[in-house]
Symmetry: C2
Subunit: 357 residues, 2 copies
């Protein structure tokens, strides 16, 4: 059985276990209840050994025996039921869509925020991200490189595609994310924040010159992209290098890919601790004399927040954050074009790869 | 020669003509100048015959003989030179990237707004969109359906792909947009504002049931998607039906696909006058008893603007705008899920197609 199919069956099984547990309570004449890991900030901490955010031991109880719990308890069970339906019927949904779907079952949510919260509770309860329950965000990251995948989604089982075959790159959607890796002639992964630079890397044949798989995150990396990056690193043993804009937002985009986000501390498998952020650093701005813009108030505020973040205690994070604080200026990946279109590949990328490898 | 290759050569030729014109002035001992169609609001009007925005006859002159013109004149010529370089070297760029690239040539723009404006001036001058000069936006619309295309971009000439072959859909990037249509077994095009519903349509095999090509615009349609929709309509003779959220923003997304935008009045070939907006209408909200949200101040303001827009003088636009004004409520494509996941296909889509065909 393929890894992905097994994963799907495991998720269905986790959801069914929840159901069996509740039925047992009822059969024993007890009120059914669930204890859900608390996702409150006080229960989230950065774990240096795990090199990512983890959730603590605190749990919250939702019981059918309490009038005050009854609504949330029922809604929670419905979410689990609906997720199982999605998986068994091979359908997909989104957070927004689950909210509306509840009305087909007479389950009342006052607003979407309520159903979103319970979906995250369910993630925490079964320890699997909502994508494993076929609840997806709009995903528009892209991938290009010499990797052959085999689809595992219904109707496409066994179909293979080499990721060099589409010059625009392929979207990292649900089907691609859950595909099997069949053959890989790449030796590393370049993750790029900007589509423009992703396209430039394709044009300049970076995938050949560096035997690299290219991934564009289009800003903050969607969860599907983060999941795929992790798989490329763990399953294929490929080193991962991240290129972002030279500002605090870019730094944090890299940080979330590497360490995960507090928001998804309750689900593992979305971070890649061995990935490396290799630019654009504040020190690159000086070294390459890049065109810059001054920091805004918002940039400065964010900078101070990140300086307090335990993920960024070590270098290069801390060194570069302090450098940004000194410079008070930011730059972008496109800024290398001031030296011509191919400079970012011929000079900057070459320098960086010499440094790290 | 393929249509797309001819198009590329035509654009290069238009840019070279501009150069030859300037050289002629100089050879004749005259100051070189250009006269650029004015893109100011006063020179843009809605043309009921063209069924789209068109640009008038006013032109602005930039001459090397005026000190005040000299900078803009030089910058304009550089943009044209750079565009020709991109085309001849098979490289691509973005608005942001052109701005930075100018610094590699000692051309000074104070800010990106300046180079953006001149790129649009150049579009107006040669009558071609900037994508024809390899200057692209980040594009993330997607397509799925029984259409076989053949790539025309360098390195991929002659490679064919059927757009059913990737279950996540294919991104509508530069390569796909400029591909040749080789074989089509579809009979219509469904354009969908929301990725979630695009995915639902794939899952529910709408492409089979309705022999439809599915296009997701992810909100306001990127120019590449608008260009491709037009080609499917004009070259393949496929009728186009547009599904948006049931609000004034959705209505306007459909309007831009059909009539074009004032912003791109100076370039043709981005609108599809025969496409039809078929939902979600304000009247659908009542008819299908959809869950709604109240209009915000911003919605109301936009509604009043659209009521004054000449594109929306006729039905269904006017009727639905007035209906929205009465209802003061809005809904979304996902709202149909209140009747179950497949209702939007089994009931709503079926109803709509009966009405229009």
């Amino acid at each position: 059985m393929s890894l992905q199919r097994r994963r799907r069956l495991e998720t269905i099984n986790l959801l069914e276990e929840l159901g069996r547990r509740l039925v047992n309570y009822i059969n024993n004449g007890e009120f059914p209840y669930v204890d859900i890991p608390s996702r409150s900030v006080s229960n989230i901490r950065y774990d240096p050994n795990e090199r990512g955010y983890v959730i603590g031991d605190k749990r919250k109880v939702r019981s059918a025996s309490h009038m005050m719990h009854l609504k949330k308890f029922t809604q929670f069970i419905w979410i689990a039921y609906f997720a199982k339906e999605l998986l068994q019927r091979g359908r997909t949904s989104t957070l927004r869509d689950v909210y509306y779907s509840s009305q087909a079952y007479g389950i009342d949510f006052e607003e979407q925020q309520e159903s979103d919260e319970l979906i995250m509770d369910l993630e925490a309860y079964i320890g699997r991200p909502r994508e494993d329950m076929n609840i997806f965000p709009a995903e528009r990251a892209a991938i290009f490189g010499d990797l052959t995948i085999e689809y595992t989604v219904p109707g496409y089982e066994g179909r293979r595609v080499n990721l060099l075959s589409h010059p625009d790159g392929l979207m990292i959607g649900h089907s691609l994310k859950t595909s099997e890796f069949v053959e890989c002639n790449a030796e590393r992964v370049f993750v790029i924040e900007k589509d423009a630079i992703f396209n430039r890397f394709i044009e300049e044949r970076v995938y050949e010159k560096y035997k690299a798989i290219l991934i564009s995150t289009s800003g903050q990396a969607p969860r599907a992209a983060r999941y795929l990056i992790r798989r490329l690193n763990k399953e294929m043993g490929l080193p991962v290098y991240i290129f972002t804009d030279g500002d605090v937002w870019g730094l944090h985009i890299a940080g979330v890919i590497i360490y995960g986000s507090a928001n998804s501390a309750h689900v593992r498998e979305l971070h890649t601790p061995d990935a490396k952020w290799i630019g654009v650093w504040a020190s690159d701005i000086e070294k390459y004399k890049l065109p810059t813009d001054p920091f805004t108030e918002r940039d400065l505020k964010r900078l101070d927040e990140l300086l307090k973040d335990p993920r960024y205690n070590e270098d290069p994070w801390r060194r570069e954050l302090l450098k940004f604080k000194k410079l008070r200026r930011k730059s972008e990946l496109e800024a290398f074009s001031r030296y011509g279109l191919t400079y970012i590949v011929d000079k900057y990328l070459r320098d960086k790869m010499k440094e790290v490898e």
